[in-house]
Every structure is written in structure tokens, then in C-alpha cells.
Symmetry: C2
Subunit: 375 residues, 2 copies
């Protein structure tokens, strides 16, 4: 197999790398924005291209239900259907079965679930997770896993771990049988038990998959617990494979993960808070609904190249938010994904120049301690 990941440079545990994917190289550490149903919410593909995003997420669970695999297959897969000709990563549905668990029932064989849209009944298996991702045509595929919440017993966590490893093997087999389309990543679990985390990583690493995620973090645990487990788990993962922490998108979590040696992360956070009227900035998260911005004639950030900052004042943006205008959603989504791109560019530059620790501290001081900080 072609070498698909190269570590170019390290600074402490933090690492700079290149992920070589079918639709172009991706510089790591990379933040991947989430386009749930094959579109980025409130932002056109053209702007993602302008911002040089090269790898975005889509959700197997959501696409499976709508527009459905039959349509996607007829339309030639998601890249062709959605016109995004760069790279896609699809999660397997495991996280959605977890977060929409009132609709899902796990067995050893797979997951029975009801559609959150129309209540229709479905049964998903590891094999189907791979088949679905093959039809979608994603470039990085995730195994189907069993994600668990904090505060479950070690026995339950162990059972979930066993199923996760078993399903990973079945996914790998299906992936191999279908010609190894794209890269298949394993998802390590183990809840918040270190022995289980270690065991999960060891058993999954033995499968020699092209990449590994740390799943089951950022699922409601305390921030210190997240930090402890990301720092514990990451060094245990194979050093020559890309490492991915699923579901993180705030700067503090990303900086912790990068510090531990993580290469990839995704989250709806930047786009979701945008739709709630919050702008990310190097001076912290600005809740533009706040009265303090009512007469503020300045852009969110004069150095930002987004469509909001290039033209509009915080006062005007606040007016759009309060009037529930759709343009508020599109402008702030553009802003936050522009911010994330600038932020990750800075992170990579700091690793390259062996000053990541200093960068992290300076960023954190300004972002979380700034006088502009919102309470």
C-alpha cells in the first residue's frame, strides 16, 4: 500500500504531517468541518474551496436516511452528487446511534434503529456501514463502533469494547472484500478506564488499519478528564498512522489534542455556534447578540478575510442576528470557518518553528483571558 501519511516534523509530541488522499494532500494537524448531509450548513462549497479546505466530513447515518443510498448510487456517489471534488471523511453512524440512542438498540450483530425523520425501522451492521460508505464514495471511512457515555461500569465498558473490536474486524473484512476503497480508520474506545483504553488501542492496532481515531471522548466528561485521556491515549497509538480525535472543535480541546500528538479532528462547533450568533476570534468567542455590540461600528476582526469582516460592522451583524435573517447565519458561518483555517495555519506554523508550547499558551491567554471574553 502506498504511504498515505508522513510525519514531517515534531515539536514535543505535536506533529506536522501530510495525509495523502485520493483527492489531494492534506496538511496536518487538520480541522475538518462537518457537512452532515453532504453540504456545509450555511456555506457554499465555493467558499470552502477558497478557504483551501481539502477534507470535510459527511455523516453516513444522515445520508443513509436522506437522500438514501439508492439515490446516491444512481447519482454516482456523494462527491459527484454534491460537486465536492476534494476529500470526504464519513463517520460510520456509530456516534449518531449513540447520540440519538433513544432510537437505537445495540446487539452483537448490529444496531436496530428508527429514523429520527420518519420513524421507519432499520438494521445496521458493520458490513452495511462499509457498504454504505462505499456507495457514498468517501475517501476516509470509519469502522462502526460502540460509543459509550461517562459513568458506566467497567463491565459495560468492556462489553462495548469487545463489540467495537469485533465490529472493526468485520468492517476490515468487508473493506478488503470490496477492494479497499479509500482508507479505513479504526475507532478506539474503552470509556474512561485507562486499562480498557490501552487494550482497545492494542487490539485495534493489531489490525494494522490505515489510521486510528480516539472515539468516545468529548461525550459529556469534564474537560480535565478529556485532557487526561487524550494525553494518555494518543502516545499509545501507532506513531506512523494518522491519529484522529472525533468530535472536538473548540480551540482549547484542539490545542490539547495537538499537544498530545493528534493529527485530525472534526466538530460541528464552529458552524453551530455561528448559527447561534457567536463569532470566534483570537480575542475569544463573541456573542454578537450582546448589547455591547449594538453601536459597534468595527468588524469582528479587521484582519479576517471572510464576507462578514470584509464588509459589515458588529452592529449590523447584531441587527441581522436579532432580526433572524438568514444572512446572519451565512456570514457568521463563513467567519468561523475562516477563523478555524487561520487558527490551524498558525498551529502548524508554530510546530514547524518548534514553538508550539509558546503558541498554545499565548493563544489560550488571549482567547480565554481577554477583556473581550464573554461570560
Amino acid at each position: 500500500m502506498k504511504q498515505h501519511f508522513t510525519v514531517i516534523h515534531t515539536d514535543g509530541q505535536a506533529r506536522l504531517g501530510t495525509l495523502s488522499l485520493p483527492q489531494g494532500d492534506v496538511a496536518t494537524p487538520v480541522f475538518m468541518p462537518v457537512g452532515t448531509v453532504g453540504t456545509m450548513k450555511a456555506l457554499h462549497h465555493r467558499r470552502l474551496e477558497e478557504l483551501d479546505y481539502r477534507l470535510i466530513l459527511a455523516n453516513t447515518y444522515h445520508l443513509y436516511l436522506r437522500p438514501g443510498l439508492e439515490l446516491l448510487e444512481k447519482m454516482g456517489g456523494l462527491p459527484q452528487f454534491s460537486t465536492w471534488d476534494r476529500n470526504f471523511l464519513t463517520d460510520s453512524g456509530g456516534f449518531q446511534f449513540f447520540s440519538l440512542s433513544k432510537f437505537a438498540k445495540f446487539t452483537e450483530e448490529g444496531v436496530k434503529f428508527s429514523s429520527h425523520i420518519d420513524g421507519s425501522k432499520h438494521f445496521f451492521t458493520p458490513e452495511k456501514a462499509i457498504q454504505a460508505q462505499n456507495i457514498i464514495g468517501s475517501h476516509i471511512k470509519m469502522v462502526l463502533d460502540v460509543c459509550t457515555p461517562p459513568n458506566i461500569t467497567e463491565k459495560k465498558a468492556y462489553q462495548a469494547h469487545r463489540t467495537t473490536v469485533d465490529w472493526a474486524k468485520r468492517c476490515q473484512k468487508e473493506w478488503q472484500a470490496s477492494g479497499e476503497q479509500g482508507l479505513l480508520f479504526g475507532i478506539t474506545q474503552g470509556n474512561f478506564y485507562k486499562d480498557l483504553r490501552k487494550l482497545s488501542i492494542e487490539e485495534l492496532a493489531a489490525l494494522d488499519l490505515p489510521g486510528y481515531a480516539i472515539g468516545g471522548l468529548s461525550v459529556g466528561e469534564e474537560k480535565q478528564v478529556f485532557e487526561e485521556f487524550v494525553h494518555y491515549s494518543t502516545p499509545l497509538l501507532p506513531a506512523n498512522k494518522p491519529r484522529y480525535v472525533m468530535g472536538i472543535g473548540t480551540p482549547d480541546y484542539i490545542l490539547q489534542a495537538v499537544e498530545a500528538g493528534v493529527d485530525m479532528f472534526d466538530c460541528v462547533y464552529p458552524t453551530r455556534v455561528a448559527r447561534n450568533g457567536a463569532a470566534m476570534s483570537f480575542d475569544g468567542l463573541l456573542s454578537l447578540k450582546n448589547e455591547r455590540y449594538a453601536l459597534d461600528n468595527n468588524p469582528i476582526d479587521p484582519d479576517c478575510t471572510c464576507s462578514a469582516c470584509q464588509r459589515y460592522s458588529k452592529s449590523y451583524l447584531r441587527h441581522l442576528i436579532k432580526a433572524k435573517e438568514i444572512n446572519a447565519l451565512t456570514l457568521l458561518t463563513d467567519h468561523n470557518l475562516t477563523f478555524m483555517k487561520r487558527f490551524m495555519n498558525e498551529v502548524r506554523a508554530s510546530i514547524k518553528e518548534n514553538r508550539f508550547a509558546l503558541y498554545k499558551q499565548a493563544f489560550m491567554d488571549r482567547y480565554y483571558q481577554s477583556s473581550h471574553k464573554e461570560s
Copy 2:
């Protein structure tokens, strides 16, 4: 006063003109899209500029309530606040008091109303309507009028007419006293009584205002009634002043109005139906939710330059609409306002080349008779 309107050419009653406004000339007949609270719903100003829209609407009533005149005054008026440096036309609020009439009570002095947002009580007068539009900073201002529904008695219609003329005089006085900022247009009323329509036009024309609207049409009457009254009223309006029919935006109504000699019209229709999943095209209105487009790999119109047609299939757009994605709203709004621009360009070209009647017939045949027509 500088000549602000020139008729360049006529073809039957249809006329080609130039409206000279403070922020640039506008070719007529012109369709003016509606940006209710100082933004076009689901479309950025940049795209309106690309499409060469030079005159857009904003609503005095809505801006008065949110963000409020105090803020607009502090921010230097709506053009500066919203960054739109082309022309604005503001309606006076008269139509909103009519359409939100459960909140409004008319007296000879003015209108008492409750905010549809928070229920707060307000009192609006003709003088306040002008003062508000001065603060907003619009380039065409409308007098405060009394709009009435179909099927009221002639007596009631006459009373509304009398108040409308009285208020127009008060508006004109206030406009003159405040230095004639922008152009003030009168609004003729008279309900669906021809004598009253004629009387309203005569009394308002005597004020020698810079332009005149035909108000109180497209308020629920039958289409034939609209046609009858637009053809009856338009030739009675001063020929050397711009003529404006308020609240029309479907191609058939626009073509009728142009045929009668109308120069200007506005409506939320193209942007509103876009947000409901309908695309305007020369082959008629396409309801993209329709199952027939599920596997349609073609754009709405391959000749269209909008962000939807330049990239996406009807199948994908349908998926976005069904998944309630914000991008569906922005893409279809761009499409429909691109369509309206192309349509009006064609209308003006046909007048210039003395073939408007033929154009109207051919357009109507294709738009309303096409096999693509949705029922």
C-alpha cells in the same frame, strides 16, 4: 429641480426610461427586490451588486421597530449601516399597517399600532413617516397612505381616499420643510372604483410630486380586476413622472403593468418562493420538492449564471430543500433574483426594439403553458 426621470423610448404604452437617483441611474422598467430590514433575505449585497441591481426596497415600518430609528441615526442611516451604497426606496409603512391591520387603528391624525414583535404601542403620522425615511436615508420615499381591501363600500373607499390625499399633502410639507431629501412619491388609491381611482390620481397629480405609485392593487382581487385597474389607472398618471405599481413580482403581473406603461415594481415574491423551494425559469415556476426532480442531473437552467445553476443539479438542490438546509435558501434566492434580472433585461430589450407585445406573448406562452409547468 433636476430632471430625475427620462422616457427614452415607447412601444405602445410600454416605455423605456432612466431614473436618475443620487446613487446612480436606474434603467426602467425596473424590478426592485425587497430587503425588508436592510438586507436581502438569504442573499449578500455583493451578489446584488454583481447582478447590477441598483435600487432595492427597505421597509420603514420594520426598520422603525428594529433596529429602530435611534440606532439608525447613530449609525449614519441605512446606506452606511448596511453598506449598500446604491439606491434605496422605502415604503412608508402604509402597506404594513394594512397587512398587519389587526395591530393598527387609523384616525385622521395618523395610525396607532402595536409592534408585531413585542406588542409595544406606537403612533405614526404622515410627518413621522417622512422623518423616519429621512433618518433611514432612502433615496425614494413614499407618502403614508391608507390601503384598503377589495369589497369595501364606495363610501369607505372615499374616506380612505380623502385621508390618503390629506396625508400626502402633510408628507409633502414635511418633505419640503426638511430640505427635500431624495424623491418623494405619491401613492394613488381609490380601491376598485374607477371614479375614485381617477379622482385620487387627479388630486395627487396636482401636488406635482416627483413620482407616483398605484397603491392598493394586488391586495387579494382577481387577476382580471388587477389587469383592468392597472390598464385604467396608468395612462391617467403624469406621463413625465415615474410610475410604480407596488407589490407585484410575478412575470404575468409585471408584463401587464409594463404593457400599461408602468416603470417600477417591487415584490417579495421571487425571494419568498425561493425560500419555499421554487425556482423561477423561462419554462415556468419549478417546485423543486417535486419527486420528478429526484434524479434530475441537470441544472435549473444551463444558461443561468447563478450559484445554483453554475454548479448544482436539480436532484442535489431538491435534496438540500428536503433536508431543510440553509444553502437551499441562499442558492434558490440567488437563482430567482438572477432570473428576475434576466427577465427584466429581456423586457427592456423588447421595448427598445418595438417588439414588446410579441415578447410578452412568447414569454407568457412558454412560462405558463410549458410542459414543465407545475400545477
